[in-house]
């Protein structure tokens, strides 16, 4: 299978070029800081309770406070993974065209779409492994430091993987059309737009402004990454936390529907197919 060979090459390149090690090293720093910060919050919480003579009359219930900490961790992981996905895949095709490394591959007996499929698979594998490790670290921290396990965490993980996959699909498409530099700019702007659009929708919901909500919906049709993050955040928070914290960048109380999830998956497939079609016809 040529696709698997290309996928393997993609993974091998990430390892050989030390991308993987750099990301893992920095992520380890993040996890350490996160553990430290979580511990401080838990200690504070307990000290506060002790002062009150063990009478639990908190500003927010413990579950909600711990959930906020988990959300903070997951939001950071989600954001970083998105950025790294874009950076890693920004030149997936374009940089190889620019360097000329693709010329001796395309002329081999394989179809061009297999190259796209293989690279996509390679990056997707990295996303799944990285996301699992990082979400696992956040949940493990919460469990061991605060004895709190967020609900539906596997759904959340799946949706967060979907967030990065959406960005990966867009980046691959851009990489078959634009130069590496232009692609970086374009995909980043789209990513930024999705984040802002999500925020506008939140605020619109909060102040009951239909136009703002529609802007948000339009942006999540164009780039559904932020809406999938919102669904993920909704699922991994206990109901009490959602209703107490209200709309905020980390979550929502109007979760996107199942249709939105199907749309996002279809969106990824469609974008990949388009990038295959573009690459198929492209002069190298």
């Amino acid at each position: 299978m040529m696709m698997l060979l290309i996928a393997r090459l993609t993974l091998q390149e990430a390892v050989r070029r030390k991308l993987v090690w750099a990301v893992l090293a920095l992520s380890a720093v993040f996890v350490l800081l996160y553990v430290y910060g979580f511990q401080i919050v838990v200690d504070d919480f307990e000290a506060f309770n002790d002062q009150r003579g063990g009478e639990p009359r908190e500003f927010l219930p413990r579950e909600v406070q711990m959930s906020i900490m988990v959300m903070l961790g997951l939001w950071t992981v989600n954001f970083l993974a998105g950025v790294m996905t874009i950076f890693a895949a920004v030149g997936a095709i374009s940089s190889e065209i620019e360097a000329g490394t693709l010329h001796v591959i395309v002329t081999k007996p394989l179809n061009r779409f297999e190259i796209i499929a293989g690279k996509y698979l390679g990056f997707l594998t990295m996303i799944v492994i990285y996301m699992s490790l990082m979400v696992g670290s956040v949940v493990a921290t919460s469990y061991f430091v605060a004895d709190y396990v967020p609900p539906n965490i596997l759904d959340g993980l799946g949706l967060m993987i979907l967030v990065s996959t959406i960005l990966l699909s867009l980046t691959m498409l851009g990489s078959t059309i634009f130069s590496t530099m232009a692609n970086g700019v374009v995909v980043f702007m789209l990513y930024g737009m999705a984040l802002t659009g999500g925020l506008v929708e939140q605020i619109g919901t909060g102040i009951d402004n239909d136009t703002m909500v529609r802007i948000g919906v339009a942006s999540s049709v164009l780039v559904p990454s932020d809406s999938m993050w919102k669904l993920a955040s909704y699922k991994v928070q206990p109901a009490i936390a959602v209703s107490l914290t209200g709309p905020n960048p980390f979550g929502t109380f109007v979760p996107p529907s199942d249709f939105a999830v199907r749309y996002a998956i279809f969106y990824c497939l469609a974008v990949v197919l388009v990038s295959m079609a573009v690459f198929q016809r492209r002069d190298l």
Binding site: T101, H103, L110, D283
Partner: protein
Amino acid sequence: MSSTTEAPVPQPTPRAEAEQPAIEARGLQKAFGDLVAVDDLTITVGQGEVYGFLGPNGAGKSTTVKILTGLIRPTAGEARLLGRKLGDRRTKREIGYLPELFRFHDWLTANEFLDVHGRLAGMTRSQRQQRIPEALQLVGLTGRGDDRLRTFSKGMQQRAGLAQALLHNPKLIFLDEPTSALDPIGRRIVRDVIRELSAAGTTIFLNSHLLSEVELVSDRVAILNRGVVVAEGRLDELRPQGFAVSLRLDGWSDERRDVVMRLATIDSLEQLADDLAALTVTVPDEATIAELVAGLVGVGARVYEVTPRKETLEDLFVNLVDQADGMDLKVSTQGQADTP
């Protein structure tokens, strides 16, 4: 001038594949917007030939190879490789390619690089295990298989690229400026490899702007200028007919002139002193040179110097390119520059 196939284009005969030409291109054209990189290119390369594709920089040589290898699409015309249409997967298995701007995944070792490309070419594990050391040896990289390509010099990378191109024993190999990064020894290695492949029956399409490279190994050449083939044929056909010879004698006389005129044509004559004449003549073949000298000595002349001046393909090349450019200039003064 043009010995290109003018008369009925050879029809593809329904004979065995081995009888099919290795490359058959008809009216290929590639335009990038207004710029026509290759225009109406019609060539036929027989199997087992070493075909030199010559032209100055920017003539459209690489574009032609890219069309034939399927990297870019022609805007007009069609081509067949080994009897099949461009892009056929079976054909891709049987062609090798070394691009002009050879850049490879330099984080791989030479062995890994060849292994990947062997797999891409559809070779089995045992084929690869046997063939990779052979290919490395052929291009003079024995013992460097475990080094990353990044640590290689440009010339070594180009030779690794050559190993990649011939690894799977293709029937047809495209080499685009294969010696651009090589030192004289490297060039010699490439030349030897081409000869070896040719001896084994491989067809080689050799792009180069270096006539000396092409001249030494090619059976036939085409000369491309500004996207148009200005000459095509076997080397001995293209090379100017006859040999120019310059002579120095102890003087000149009618008698001596008769001797010379009988055997050759006089291109120039100069009486340098009473007892010294220099002349340039053209003789039909090398054997006549000896006859000429004997004739002159026979009528009492003393011959001080006989220098055969072999006209090279280089002269032809420069002439043709100049001519074509001249034509183009004339056309462009009349209006839109348009290659005929």
